[in-house]
């Protein structure tokens, strides 16, 4: 084992100003640090998950200026001056966000590892389209892999929560594929 000094920051640090969950942070970061690393390792926001680190699974999805993005593919540096939303921002004053309520109620959560990404995609979908169809929901979450649920209950939870006909009237979610009679 070497007794030489350990250089923990071989790269030159660069300044970053970023708003995460409605609070602006002034940071010095490594130029090659990803947004995912910044969130999980620096800000300890571990609700954002690393499933593949290759931008393919959707577990690390966050909102950058309200648009979903795979935080493992985003250089933290590129978020300078921008607004980041993670799953930790959804709950307010100890009250679950209505999408979180719907996910719990409709069985959209099993192991929970894809959940934060799914919720943020759903939130962004709703902001663009306040009454998405089944097809639109399926397309919105197409980049988020869930191995536990087979997607049905996630689609149902998003539909029930966003569709004005959903919760209140007990209307049925249209099914996928070809319909059973």
């Amino acid at each position: 084992m070497s007794n030489q000094p350990v250089n923990l920051t071989p790269q030159k640090l660069v300044p970053l100003e970023v708003a995460v969950n409605n609070r602006t942070y002034l940071l010095e970061i490594k130029p090659n640090e990803t947004l995912l690393e910044l969130l999980r390792n620096r800000l300890k926001l571990t609700g954002t998950k690393k499933g593949c680190d290759q931008g393919e699974c959707g577990c690390c999805t966050v909102l950058i200026d309200d648009e979903p993005a795979s935080s493992c593919l985003v250089l933290a540096l590129s978020t300078h001056g921008r607004k980041i939303t993670t799953v930790e921002a959804l709950e307010e004053n100890g009250q679950l966000h209505w999408l979180q309520e719907a996910f719990v109620k409709h069985g959209a959560i099993q192991c929970g590892f894809c959940t934060s990404g799914m919720l943020l995609v759903a939130k962004s979908l709703f902001e663009r389209n306040n009454s998405p169809s089944r097809q639109e929901i399926m397309e919105a979450i197409a980049g988020n892999i869930c191995r536990c649920t087979g997607y049905e209950k996630i689609i149902e939870a998003i539909w029930q929560a966003t569709n004005p006909l959903g919760n209140n009237t007990g209307a049925q979610l249209p099914k996928g594929g070809e319909l059973f009679d």
Binding site: L90, F103, A142, E178
Partner: protein
């Protein structure tokens, strides 16, 4: 149906809010003070001898703390299967040879993940490349290079050390595999195959094959180990399905007493069978934490998860089946070849389980079964949801469809004629206390619109897209006899009458904590939020069999039910003492004991207080336990299929409708209907979630999932190239629990977590045949295979 307060209802998950808010801590989230990071150097060759390893350059790098190689720990050996016949063949780090691409060669620990990663490249390894084998044909050749030359002495046969009898194992005496690449064999004969063949009106022999597939749990495999040199205690955070199994193996190989090794609770981000084995990174974390007296974390990359954890066995099945004109199956002769890769993994178990999941479905009087698992220089294979059931059910029910069609029968009639029924005793002695196969077949058939669609699509019909329906059946154990053979549960009744359940089971997403809390709340007649669950910790929780082989509902569920009943009986006993009333005259609800037929009542708070005063301070604590199979004290023979297998079988019938695009060869799953006999659903929502998840995994295995290997190298070890079902692929998924009320089960419940993967495969293959008249015998059913088969079909028609 019985009117329960919680059981059978749509109760939201107890861990839902924690997971929805991102607060749930998974192993990958664990960070400890003074923690350092480990990485593993892996073999780039499928088969090579290690001539030398020189870690000096890595060790000289500032921040690198340790480089561990096999030379330091050559005596350490463990494996998922460890019996006299099949002694452990795995070592945490390669000592003499590497046997697949990704085999562990060295482990580095450094101050940061990046330093550890960079140090890997500074380790010089000199290899002598050896000839390698990848296929059954190559590995079974008489002059094939032998992958494991030495017969290992059986040192630490895990189960027998635990006092469980293994009489069957001794029959064959010694290894089945001396100096060959055969890693395991299972042979079973029932009745007389020759006379069965003589009785048959139609006999067919066909071969079916399934490729390796990946589990794809979203949380990558990870371990954090933290050793305290002052107390000699090792804390472990593992992404695992069985905390007691891992503790047992790790304590054994580290030569530490069990009270010094503690697996602590973290949530598990999915497992599906892929997190049972003890993995080298877990051993390395534990060993190196003890060595360095610092917490050590290993987290695998997605590529490492794909290639070096475990895959589903690629299996070839050749079946000869004889059937009478009326559809009675009179004989079945099954040959199974499974490739377990560079190490034995679960080879002997899958060899045995393909029998275990074949014979409970149809009654076949003359039956011969011969399975072999082989070593190759491919990645290691282990349990995956269903563990052999998808492969064997695909083969059996694909062939049954072919036979039925040849006889001009509807496959569902053949199924109904041969399917097992409640009350049947299986040839090994297992008793079917419940069996909903008949009802499931009829239900799934009805739901999919069988008679309206079947055979509607004809090859000569114009139109590019054609539709068809198919069906298949499956069976799955509800737990079995395997280490630690038992589940125990403890329920503490607090001073105010609320309760805490302690269970050694682990929450992997299957909803164990929720359904177990429901059982406790039902028996104690409490609101759900009056029962807390503490699980997943080897130190504070009683021992549990672990979340595999689908024993959660039956084995752990019974233990929890008994513990709750014990606590309730104690409450009623002390209330009776206090009131001077017999306990039978009392009822318990919402922390109040009431004398039946009166308005006389007593709070549980007063009862516990009274009990403590009367009983020398002893508070009310309920205890319960249940064994994998109550009627036996030994685990079944993997080689001969003797012994009792499981206390109850879950069954399912799965019917699907597909659309085949004859221009592109693409198969789209439109509808999937599963009728699953899980005895009785403890929680409707969770049962639905399990069935939908299983069906989706089955959809993937039928249509797109495949580990693509080229000379032992996985070419698609990422989610872009490994195709698994995505949200837009979701079919209309219907499911109906078939309530058969398993007499052994808590509230009638049995298996639901694994079975209904297996029926999807043949159902899809049979539906493709129904749509376009081509038979795909090798999964997955890719557009290429469909197009090639359609072209061949056209050529044959043209030449007529």
């Amino acid at each position: 149906m019985t009117n329960y307060r919680h059981i059978g209802r749509h109760v939201p998950r107890v861990d839902g809010p924690e997971k929805a808010t991102g607060k749930a801590i998974f192993t990958v989230d664990v960070e400890l003070p003074n923690m350092v990071y480990g990485k593993i150097l892996r073999s780039p060759y499928p088969h090579a001898r290690i001539k030398s390893i020189d870690p000096s350059e890595a060790l000289a790098t500032p921040g690198v703390l340790y480089v561990l190689t096999g030379a330091e720990i050559p005596h350490i050996r463990y494996a998922f299967v460890d019996t006299p016949r099949y002694p452990a063949d795995e070592q945490p780090l390669a000592v003499d040879k590497v046997r697949y691409i990704g085999d562990e060669v060295a482990a580095v620990v450094a101050e940061t993940e990046q330093l550890a990663e960079e140090a890997l490249e500074k380790i010089q390894v000199e290899y002598e490349i050896l000839p390698a084998v990848f296929t059954f044909a190559e590995t079974l050749k008489p002059d094939a290079p032998i992958i494991h030359e030495t017969s290992y002495e059986s040192g630490n046969t895990a189960w027998e050390k635990w006092g469980v009898k293994g009489k069957w194992q001794l029959e064959g005496n010694g290894q089945a595999v001396a100096n060959s690449n055969i890693s395991a064999e299972t042979q079973v004969t029932l009745g007389d195959v020759e006379s069965g063949l003589a009785q048959a009106d139609l006999v067919r022999t066909d071969t079916f094959s399934c490729k390796a597939t990946a589990h794809c749990a979203m949380e990558p495999h990870a371990a954090v180990a933290s050793y305290d040199s002052n107390t000699g205690k090792l804390d472990l955070y593992l992404s695992t399905m069985g905390i007691f199994y891992k503790r047992f193996i790790l304590a054994q190989v580290l030569e530490m007493p069990l009270n010094k090794v503690r697996v602590k609770h973290t949530y598990v981000g999915g497992a599906f069978g892929g997190k049972i084995d003890v993995f080298p990174y877990e051993f390395c974390a534990a060993y190196l934490s003890r060595k360095l007296c610092r917490p050590v974390k290993f987290e695998l990359s997605r590529e490492e998860v794909f290639t070096t954890t475990r895959q589903r066995h690629p299996i070839d099945v050749t079946i000869t089946t004889g059937i009478k004109n009326d559809g009675t199956i009179v004989v079945q002769d099954i040959k199974v070849l499974a490739d377990n890769g560079g190490y034995r993994g679960s080879g002997p178990i899958v060899s045995y389980l393909c029998h275990g999941f074949s014979f409970p479905v149809y009654k076949v009087d003359n039956y011969r079964y011969h399975a072999m698992a082989t070593y190759t220089n491919n990645p290691i294979r282990g349990p995956q949801r269903g563990h052999g059931a998808p492969q064997i059910r695909f083969a059996i029910d694909s062939q049954l469809d072919m036979l039925a069609r040849e006889l001009g029968l509807d496959i569902t009639e053949v199924m109904l004629k041969n399917a097992r029924q409640k009350g049947d005793v299986l040839p090994n002695g297992d008793y079917l206390g419940s069996c909903g196969l008949q009802e499931s077949i009829l239900g799934a058939k009805e739901k999919i619109g069988w008679s309206k669609i079947r055979g509607r699509s004809l090859p000569q019909d114009p139109g590019r897209k054609k539709r068809g329906v198919g069906i298949s059946l499956c069976a799955m154990f509800s737990g079995a006899m395997y280490y630690p053979f038992t589940s125990a549960a403890v329920i503490k009744i607090h001073d105010d009458g609320s309760a805490t359940l302690f269970t050694g089971t682990q929450e992997l997403g299957q909803g164990a904590y929720t359904t177990l809390a429901q059982i406790a709340a039902e028996v104690l007649n409490l609101e759900m939020d009056q029962v807390s669950v503490v699980g997943g910790d080897t130190e504070i929780c009683p021992i549990d069999i672990g979340s595999y082989l689908s024993g959660g509902a039956l084995v752990t569920g019974n233990a929890v039910k008994m513990a709750a009943e014990d606590a309730r009986n104690q409450i009623l006993f002390w209330a009776g003492q206090k009131l001077g009333v017999a306990p039978e005259k009392l009822t318990l609800a919402d922390k109040i004991v009431t004398v039946l037929g009166t308005d006389q009542e007593l709070s549980v708070s007063i009862v516990t207080n009274f009990a403590i005063l009367q009983n020398n301070g002893l508070p009310i604590e309920g205890r319960g336990s249940y064994k994998g199979y109550p009627e036996t004290d030994r685990y079944p023979s993997l080689a001969k299929g003797k012994g009792l297998f499981t206390g109850a079988y879950g069954f399912a019938a799965q019917a699907v409708e597909v659309e085949v695009d004859t221009l592109t060869g693409e198969v789209k799953l439109l509808k999937a209907s599963t009728h699953h006999d899980c005895g009785y659903p403890l929680n409707e929502n969770i049962v639905e979630g399990q069935v939908e998840g299983c069906a989706s995994m089955g959809q993937g295995q039928a249509l797109c999932e495949e580990v693509i290997l080229e000379q032992g190298l996985m070419l698609n070890a990422n989610f872009l190239d490994y195709k698994l079902p995505l949200a837009p692929d979701t079919p209309d998924c219907a499911h109906q629990p078939v309530n058969t009320m398993e007499p052994r089960g808590p509230f009638g419940a049995k298996e639901v977590g694994e079975g209904s993967v297996a029926g999807m495969l043949a159902a899809v293959a049979n539906a493709v045949y129904d749509a376009v008249g081509v038979r795909i015998t090798s999964l997955p059913i890719t557009p290429n295979k469909v197009l090639a088969a359609l072209q061949k079909q056209k050529k044959e028609q043209d030449s007529k």
